[in-house]
């Protein structure tokens, strides 16, 4: 059938199984939006307040569901506003397709109204990007974008479509989508070497990350842990793969990781990294990360091997498939001594103090878990609250803790919550944020209100940019440069003005009451929780430090 470019965009999206997109209209995408108008029954469009929020929503949708998120924006500022959202997805390997409009092909390069070189700007933050200059190539380019976003290590792909291409017509041939499979598995010899190293190890330690979630290797990871009696630590991206209370779960590793995780890393004789990349916030003392231990790395991306930390053995491939081939070679072992040591290590973990009359971050988060239903997705912004959430959220399932880990983008949480709620409507979605992050993208609230999304925002308000303030305390002799926020925001009135429900609570008791009401209300809610600005994220391992230098008070 003969279709114009805009119609082709819709047809390919439908062909790829996309039923929801996030975006913001504009001149260059006028025709695409015109087609969306006719196709509302096939593709739901969520209009945000700002393109950044749309990108984070597409990202959050993808993190929560595992499907590829799609965001649509106009040329120029529409495209530049996507940049933070695309970079967030890129750093955390989240599959996303961003579609941007641009000026007519014959106007490109003439500094037209709302023209930027989108492909140039997004080149280093996408897996790949395209400009479509010929309508006959549009359908295949979009299909290719979806393929690239999902294949191998996932990531964002951008397709820039000049306006005239959306008008131009050509013959469209529908195609069935083929599920992309990552088939490559290491050969038997490589698997044997690694299996032997694991079988011979007395104190093996598993370290897993987001790769386990992208490949869906939850069962395989748990099998490996059980079969070999191998305790596990995880990066912030790996949160939720193991239940928080699993005795083999030693918690998160990194700058604000658990003491147990850090001690275990120092004691292991074999670290098995699975779908994790030894980022600087994880292995923050670089090559001294382990003490004379051998390291195995299993990852889909060859580039990660030896990038940050030199490793002894590596297996390249989809971690689920690799683990499936590796598991039969792993001997069942008791490792009694190591288990005793692990039990001892776990006792040394940091426990914060409880109070009745004052709001403490860890208590707020723990109470939240107690009151919320099992089907819960938590999103965060970036800063102290993010680390508290990572430390105290009792996640039991993968894809239930969504955070901007690699890029560390403040303002991620609300958009992500919108995407998560739309992707998983039967889940309760809680957005944990700080007063700093909340002010960045609070424009997400009216979006949630418009679409009747009962997202509960918990603002840990310490009247400060707490994480930077904490760094200033440690590194800048408590010279708090520009980190005290003297905002006079009344969160209750603000919520009211946006059409949401607002609460301000002072004690744990009040918090629980407010949260119960919020859960019952089925409305978008904001709960302001004032906390002391002296609250620190503990433990803290300064960059380059070792486990002896760990700060716990």
């Amino acid at each position: 059938m003969m279709l114009n470019g805009a119609q082709i965009v819709i047809e390919v999206l439908a062909e790829q199984g996309v039923d929801i997109i996030f975006g913001y209209p504009g001149g260059a995408v006028l025709n695409i939006y015109d087609e969306l108008f006719d196709n509302q029954h096939r593709i739901r469009h969520i209009l945000t307040s700002h393109e950044q929020g749309a990108a984070h929503a597409a990202d959050g949708y993808s993190r929560a569901t595992g499907k590829t998120g799609v965001v649509l924006a106009t040329s120029g500022p529409g495209a530049t506003n996507l940049v933070t959202g695309i970079a967030t997805a890129f750093m955390d390997s989240i599959p996303m397709v961003a579609i941007t409009g641009n000026v007519n092909t014959d106007s490109i390069g003439k500094d037209c109204f709302q023209e930027v070189y989108t492909v140039g700007i997004t080149l280093p933050i996408t897996k790949h990007n395209f400009v479509v200059r010929d309508v006959t190539k549009l359908a295949d380019t979009l299909r290719e974008a979806f393929r690239i976003a999902k294949t191998g290590r996932p990531g964002p792909v951008l397709v820039d479509i000049p306006k005239d291409i959306t008008v131009a017509r050509c013959e469209f041939y529908p195609q069935k989508t083929v599920e992309v499979e990552n088939v490559y598995v290491p050969d038997d010899q490589q698997l044997n070497t690694v299996a032997e190293a694991i079988n011979n190890s007395e104190r093996p330690l598993l370290y897993y990350g987001g790769g386990v979630i992208s490949s869906g290797a939850y069962k395989q990871i748990l099998d490996l842990i059980k079969r070999g009696n191998i305790p596990a630590i995880h990066s912030v991206m790996g949160k939720g793969v193991m239940a928080y209370d699993d005795p083999m779960n030693l918690g998160m590793i990194g700058m604000h990781g658990s003491v147990a995780a850090m001690l275990a890393v120092k004691k292991t004789d074999l670290l098995i990294a699975v779908g994790a990349r030894f980022s600087d916030r994880t292995a923050n003392n670089g090559e001294n990360f382990v003490n004379n231990a051998k390291i195995i790395q299993i990852d889909i991306d060859d580039c990660e091997i030896n990038k940050n930390i030199p490793v002894d053995h590596s297996l390249i491939g989809d971690v689920k498939k690799v683990l499936e081939s590796l598991l039969p070679k792993i001997e069942t072992k008791k490792r009694t001594l190591w288990m005793e040591e692990i039990a001892d290590i776990k006792k040394q973990d940091y426990t914060p103090t409880e109070t009745e009359d004052k709001l403490k971050p860890h208590q707020i988060i723990e109470d939240m878990y107690q009151l919320c239903p099992e089907k819960l997705i938590v999103t965060t912004d970036v800063g102290q609250h993010q680390m508290w959430a990572a430390q105290y959220c009792k996640s039991k399932r993968p894809r239930s803790f969504l955070t901007s880990a690699g890029l560390g983008a403040m303002g991620f949480g609300y958009g992500a919550a919108i995407g998560a709620k739309l992707g998983c409507p039967d889940h309760t979605v809680v957005h944990i944020t700080g007063d700093g992050s909340f002010h960045m993208n609070m424009n997400g609230v009216p979006t949630a209100v418009t679409y009747k999304l009962p997202i509960i925002t918990i603002v840990l308000n310490n009247n400060a940019l707490g994480m930077v303030r904490q760094l200033q305390k440690v590194y800048c002799k408590s010279r708090f440069s520009s980190t005290l926020l003297q905002k006079q925001t009344d969160y209750v009135k603000l919520a009211d003005a946006f059409g949401a429900l607002g609460f301000r609570v002072e004690t744990p008791k009040e918090f629980k009451a407010a949260l119960k009401e919020a859960l019952k209300s089925n409305k978008s809610c904001i709960i302001e929780c004032p906390i002391d600005c002296e609250e620190q994220v503990l433990p803290m391992m300064p960059a380059g430090a070792t486990v002896e230098d760990i700060i716990i008070e």
């Binding site: 492909v119 140039g120 080149l123 280093p124 897996k127 790949h128 400009v131 690239i148 991306d301 060859d302 580039c303 091997i305 030896n306 990038k307 030199p310």
Partner: protein, 162 residues
């Protein structure tokens, strides 16, 4: 630190050079020279680049470049089994005295004098990087008006192909 020569086969699409160059900038690798040309297949171009670094950097460069969608193959050229060439064009200031000397030196290096004007001449030399460096070392005793060199292009000697 060592010099490595890499041949990168890429799809001949607009902007592909920018992608390869951007990768090097993004990852902080230093490109010493870079040449792009067509191959016998019009759909494929070849980028030859020389980089300085250690084995780890080389490993990362090869892997990261291979990951780019439009890169077909990255090949590390082993210099001892390869022919590598650069082209130099150099414009020298001359007078009656230096003209003869420059002619003699050019003859020794098998360089060609391709243009002669009353006060200048242009010399062309094709050779290995070392060859050109040596020739330039001598030219520095005279007055160089301007010069440019193409950077390395290289092929391995055996009958296989990348």
């Amino acid at each position: 630190m060592k010099r490595y020569i890499l041949s990168v086969l890429v799809q001949n699409n607009p902007g592909v050079l920018a992608r390869v160059a951007s990768l090097f900038g993004r990852r902080g690798y230093n490109i010493d020279s870079l040449t792009v040309s067509e191959t016998n297949n019009p759909g494929i171009s070849i980028i030859t680049l020389t980089v300085t670094g250690d084995e780890n950097i080389l490993e990362q460069i090869i892997k990261q470049a291979s990951k780019l969608e439009e890169v077909i193959k990255v090949h590390h050229i082993q210099e001892q089994h390869a022919l590598s060439r650069e082209l130099l064009l150099i414009k020298m200031k001359i007078d009656s005295e230096t003209r003869t000397s420059l002619r003699e030196i050019s003859e020794i290096y098998e360089a060609k004098i391709v243009d002669l004007a009353p006060a200048s001449m242009i010399i062309e030399l094709t050779g290995t990087t070392q060859n050109i460096d040596a020739f330039l070392g001598i030219m520095k005793d005279f007055t160089i008006i301007e010069m440019c060199r193409t950077g390395v292009t290289a092929l391995e000697k055996d009958s296989s192909k990348i």
